[in-house]
Structures are given as structure tokens and as C-alpha cells.
Amino acid sequence: MKGETMSRAARREARYGLLFVLPWIIGFLAFTALPMAATFVFTFLNISLAEQEPLMFVGLANYQRLFADQQAWASLWVTARFALLWLPLVIALPFLLAVAVNSKYVRGAGLLRVLLFMPYVVPFVASALIWQNMLVNDGWINTALRLLGVGGAPSWLSDPAWVLPGLVMIGLWGLGSGIIINLAGLRGIPTELYDAARLDGAGWWRQLWHVTIPMMSPVIFYTMILAVVEVMQYFLIPLVLFDGSGNPGGATRFFNLYLYQTFFTYQEMSYGSTLAWLLFVITLIVTLVLFRLSRRWVHYTSER
């Protein structure tokens, strides 16, 4: 289009197009771009309500403090450890359950689908409280473990070593939509591919490995990317369960919780903004890397 003038019709179309997307552009500027820029500017200032100092430019002081701040890195480590536990589950489990529900040996797929999806609509505050009731020392999980002969069942929510697995269990109720998305993806695989594979003498396992997984790779990638972005920001369930204390013993002081505390409890706006930018940069890097890696294993059947 360089150098040419747009035709009248094209200009008209462009005007309409911009008009339609205008609500989003305004919203983006007002609620995303400007606040983000402001947060960035904050990282070079000394806004902190706890200490009343005159507002001034402090250069990279907040960043220096960030690098020396053990708590920030400890919290990042909590988030990372949780992600390592959570991500394999949240990616694999919906896929496997969908494969199982879709299997021709399973009856009542419709009912299973609905039941598996249902907890997804349960508000997370309620589900956190319901699961808390399950996970306490005298709850059903430990009662079941004792019946199975497990001596010294873990204190899920009050042992620093077991609280992350406990939180993973609480998160299981959010898998519903992943299951449905995977199911939809499975339905979308042309049956001819399986027929062809069977003609080649492929058993169930080889069909799964050579047909299902490659064909499902875009769906798996999609659930993975969303899960990664979510897990980086994870903190609301511990916030509800432990009042943001990071208990037991700091084991649930997730990065986002520390950020939230820095903002709201310590009132250190500038330092909190620095933490927020760190989170943003890390998220950006991780998603970019994942997108780059996806070229190697995600197979798109048709070019769009």
C-alpha cells in the first residue's frame, strides 16, 4: 500500500473498522497501556506510604534492592515449584481424561463429560473452602489414606512440605474446561487417520502416539500457554485460605502474594511496581520461549 492512496471504499472500510474496534482501543489505553507506563515510571521513584519522604527520582535503586531481596527470589521459587507440580498435571490430566471419556469402551460419555465439567462453575472461594474441609487432618482424604494403611498421613495445609501438593488438589476442580476443550479436539480428528493407522497395524498405543498426540498438539499447546500464564499469577487460593500470611512457614508466599503484600500491606508502591514489572518480563520471556519451541512440536493441519 506504500505510496498509493487508498481508494474511497478502502478508506470507508478502514474508518468503519477503526470505529468498531474503538471501544477496545480506548479501553486498552485507559486500563492497560497508561497504567502500565505509570507502573514503569513508578519503578524509578520512591513512592512508599510507610516512609514519608519527598517524592524523588531514585534511578535504579528499586532494581538494586530487588536483586538483593531474598524474599522476592524465595517467593519466585515458591511459584516456580508450584508450577513444576501443577503444569504437568493441568496439561496431561485433561488430555488423558478426555481420551478416556472418548474411548469406545466407556459408556455414559455424555454424563461423564457433564460431571467432570461441573466443578468448573463452582466459585473458587467456595471450592477452596470445600477442599480445605477435605484436606484437614480429620477430613476425608486423610481418613481414606488411613483406611488404606498409610501411617502418618500428611497435614496438607499446615505442613510446609505438603502444602503445595494440597493446593494442587484444590486446583483440580478447575480442570473442567480443559477436559472439554480436549474432548472437542479429539472429536475433530478425522477418523480416516485412525483407519489408516490401523491398516498399518498400529495398536492403541501407537495410534495415540502417532495420530492422537500430533493431531492434538495445537490444543495441548493452547491449554499449556494459558496454564503457564495463570500459574505465574497464582495466589488467590492461598490468599483466601491463609489470609495472605504465607503460612505455613512462608511456604505459600507466592510471588504474586509477595507483590500484593508489598502494595497493600507494606504500602511500598514503587518497589511493588518493580516486582510487578519483573513478573511481567518473566511472563513475557516464558511465553516467547514457549511459542518459539512450539514450532518444533505443534502441528497445524491447515495454514490459516
Partner: protein, 457 residues
């Protein structure tokens, strides 16, 4: 389709307007000043208390037309964060309370100095016990007028002592404890430990001093310390502060270290204090005051425990605080109302404040279950408490305890107050949940960690 579209737009607009309409303050009286009363940095969030507070406001409104007061209830769990955010964004309330020493320290420097207002209005401070106004003075700033005080005492279950064939702990300060064999011991934490072991019982009825005692199946615990706050726990041994005195150096008071070792060993070695995981079980009142479950023999707590102590049954009573190293301390909490330095109507806020601590105080104090700071009102308060409980309670213990209040107060301001609290909270939680720790190393690490926080400019 078309019509549905229009209908949707119309509904959206109508509802959006309705939502906007509710936001501006009702513009009734010509120039009535609207004050915002921010509640629940301490107590005041229970439904009955909210009602009492509303009633007090209504009465205030009926008496004059210049000042309107709006009560904002934020429950204790999120009250500090919310207030911080409101102040941060220039949206702070005029008045906050009831707020204790700790709640006030968390907002150090943000309270209005009342001294000029007290002076200009001629407010009489002489009706309070001497020195009690000092609980509300930080440096040269008078931040509050005395309102409520809560001394600490030892709550105990008389029936458990009886079952074990033991005498009840002494009610009078200075009295000794008498064992079944006639031996007498100083009423201190060593004696308490010895008693607590005998009062810790497993499922088979064996106590912690007997052979075959099963620590995995304890159904009754001997002692429950003040668990929520390590500083309070320390102050129950002796008053102190983490601040070595220069406002820069962290020093853990020796008595506090003693009390924390007592707490840690009590949980993991002696077993007469429940560990964190047990503390969370519903059987022991699920993360609440464990004494209220009725399965704990002794507990140190503030007088405000009267709000739920009925749960412990009808055989509880109060005893004197044990001593440590020959000194007795009853950590004392003090609540009042404070005016924010950022209030645009300080004069009106002060007028309302004097109403709250004056004419409205009786009603509020009884709703909060708080002991009046004004000495003349105290007898009426205890008479009322006595009516509230079916069992006979020796309230004189509470009155006597005031004389042993901690000074400096355990919740006093320190540098980086909220961050320091977080570190303390993390250690507290770690101690409750991990056995086998080396306490000397823990204390050293804690000191260093807090020092690190303080060193941050």
C-alpha cells in the same frame, strides 16, 4: 432480534445509571459534614457489635445535625490492607477504631496528634487511671484518648484439675502453688510446665508424665500460650522490644527467647502444647482460640476472650499470670478510636471521638466486651460480665492484673513494622509446623532477617 438488541442496551444503561446513582452522597442537609468511621482493625465486626455501633451513630445524629457519620465495616482479616490502600490513594477515612496498640503502630505517623484539640476543648483526662493516657502516646504525639483495656490472665478449666486430683492455680499475685503432697512452688512457668504435663492426656487416659503415653493421640492439652503473635508470647514472660533502643538495631529480648523456646519445646518435646497441625483441627476449635474447644486445661489470653470462652464449658475460671525470673507480666492491650492525620474535618472528627469515648462508651464497651479505661466504670462492667456467665468467675484477678501491664508494650512501633510482623509470623508458623529445629540457630537467623529488613533504607 432488533428489539432484543434495544432492550439489552436499555437495560444496560438503566442498570449502569442505577449503579452510578448510588455512589454520590445523598445531598440532604445544607452543609452537614460527612465523617467516615472505619471499623474493625481490632474488634467490632460481629453482627451484634455492628448493630450497637449503628445505634450509637443514630443517637449521635439525633442529637445534632451538623455531622453525619458513616460506618465502614471491613473485617479484621483485610482491615489493615484496605485501610493502607485507602490512605495510599488519598481516600482515607476520618476516624478509625476500635484499634489497638499494634493496629495503630502499623499506621505509624498517620494519626492526628490530639493534644491541641484536647487542650482547646478542655477535655478532662483525669478520670482515667494515672498513666493510661500514655499507652496512646508515641513520642510527643498524643494519638488517642483512653477507652478500653484488656489485661491478660491465665484461663483454666477447674474440672480438669479436679479430675487429675490437682489444686487449682493461685488467683492472687504472689501466692504459691500447692501440690497434692503439700509441696509448695513459686507460681512461675516452670511450675506451669510441670502442671501442664500432668494435664496433657492421651486417648487412653494416660498423662504426659506416665509411661506408655501416646503423643500421637492426645485428646486434652495442658497449656495453650498466646499463639497469634510471638511478641505477645514474649511479653507474657517479660516486657521487651525488638528495638535495642537506637531505632536501628534488632535485639531479641532474653525473656522473649526463653518464652519462644518454652513454646517450641512445649509443642515438640514436652507435648503439652499442641503443634500447628493439631491446632488446625476442628476438634481444637480449628485455628481459633484452642481453649474455647474445652479440651485445653490452661491458656494465657487477653480479657477479650470472654467473647467465646463459654465454648470451653462452665467450669473455667481465671488465675494469676505465672512469673518468669521473679518478674510477673500481664501483657495488656488497649483499644481506642483514632483520627487520621489526613482527615479534612479534624474538629468534627474530634467531636465525634469525644462522644464515642464519653457518652457512648458504656454501650460500646459492653458490645466489645472491653474493660473501661475509666476507673469509675469498671465495677459496673464486671457486674455485667458476671451476669453473662453461669459459672462463678474470679474477676478480681483481671483487675489485679492491670498492675502488671507490659511496658514497653509488645506491639509498640518498630522500624519497618509490617515487614517485621511478616518475618515474625513466618517464624511462628514454621515453629508450629516443623519439629526438630535448632532454636538457637532459628533465633539467630530471625534476628538477622529482621535486621536485614530494618537496614533497608
Amino acid at each position: 432480534m432488533n428489539r432484543l438488541w434495544h432492550a439489552l442496551v436499555a437495560i444496560a444503561l438503566a442498570m449502569a445509571l442505577a449503579a452510578c446513582g448510588s455512589s454520590p452522597p445523598p445531598g440532604g442537609d445544607v452543609a452537614a459534614v460527612e465523617l467516615r468511621w472505619y471499623c474493625c482493625l481490632g474488634t467490632g465486626e460481629q453482627a451484634e457489635q455492628v448493630k450497637a455501633q449503628q445505634k450509637v451513630i443514630e443517637r449521635f445524629h439525633a442529637a445534632q445535625r451538623r455531622i453525619r457519620v458513616k460506618l465502614e465495616i471491613v473485617t479484621y482479616d483485610s482491615a489493615r490492607d484496605t485501610l493502607a490502600t485507602q490512605i495510599a490513594s488519598g481516600n482515607g477515612p476520618d476516624l478509625a477504631g476500635p484499634v489497638g496498640v499494634g493496629g495503630a503502630a502499623a499506621f505509624h505517623g498517620q494519626w492526628l496528634d490530639l493534644a491541641p484539640l484536647i487542650k482547646s476543648s478542655g477535655f478532662d483526662l483525669s478520670s482515667y487511671a494515672k498513666g493510661s493516657a500514655d499507652l496512646y502516646r508515641i513520642g510527643s504525639v498524643q494519638e488517642g484518648i483512653p477507652f478500653a483495656i484488656y489485661p491478660s490472665t491465665l484461663y483454666y478449666k477447674a474440672d480438669m484439675f479436679e479430675e487429675a486430683g490437682l489444686a487449682e492455680p493461685p488467683h492472687k499475685y504472689g501466692e504459691k502453688y500447692t501440690w497434692p503432697d503439700g509441696r509448695q512452688s513459686e507460681w512461675n512457668y516452670d511450675t506451669l510446665r510441670e502442671l501442664a504435663l500432668r494435664l496433657t492426656v492421651d486417648k487412653n487416659g494416660k498423662d504426659a508424665t506416665q509411661a506408655g503415653f501416646n503423643p500421637g493421640e492426645i485428646v486434652q492439652y495442658g497449656f495453650e500460650p498466646a499463639r497469634d503473635d510471638l511478641r505477645y508470647q514474649g511479653a507474657a514472660f517479660a516486657a521487651g522490644s525488638l528495638d535495642a533502643g537506637d531505632g536501628k538495631t534488632v535485639k531479641i529480648p532474653d525473656a522473649w527467647a526463653d518464652s519462644w523456646r518454652f513454646f517450641y519445646d512445649g509443642m515438640w518435646k514436652d507435648r503439652f502444647i499442641m503443634t500447628g497441625p493439631v491446632f488446625e483441627t476442628e476438634q481444637f476449635n480449628g485455628d481459633g482460640a484452642a481453649f474455647f474447644s474445652g479440651h485445653v486445661a490452661m491458656s494465657v489470653n487477653f480479657l477479650w476472650s470472654t467473647y467465646g470462652v463459654a465454648g470451653a464449658g462452665d467450669d473455667w475460671d481465671l488465675a494469676a499470670m505465672p512469673s518468669h525470673d521473679g518478674r510477673t507480666t500481664s501483657p495488656t492491650s488497649a483499644d481506642t478510636f483514632r483520627i487520621l492525620a489526613g482527615s479534612k474535618h479534624p474538629a468534627e472528627a474530634f467531636e465525634f471521638l469525644t462522644y464515642l469515648v464519653g457518652p457512648a462508651s458504656q454501650e460500646l464497651l459492653s458490645a466489645y466486651g472491653a474493660m473501661p479505661a475509666r476507673t469509675a466504670d469498671q465495677d459496673a462492667f464486671f457486674a455485667k460480665l458476671a451476669e453473662q456467665f453461669t459459672n462463678k468467675v474470679d474477676w478480681q484477678v483481671a483487675k489485679d492484673s492491670v498492675a502488671f501491664a507490659d511496658n514497653p508494650h509488645s506491639e509498640s512501633h518498630t522500624p519497618k513494622y509490617n515487614q517485621t510482623l511478616t518475618v515474625l509470623g513466618t517464624y511462628r508458623s514454621r515453629w508450629m509446623t516443623e519439629g526438630g529445629l535448632d532454636m538457637d540457630a532459628q533465633l539467630k537467623k530471625m534476628r538477622e532477617e529482621i535486621q536485614g529488613v530494618w537496614n533497608r533504607s
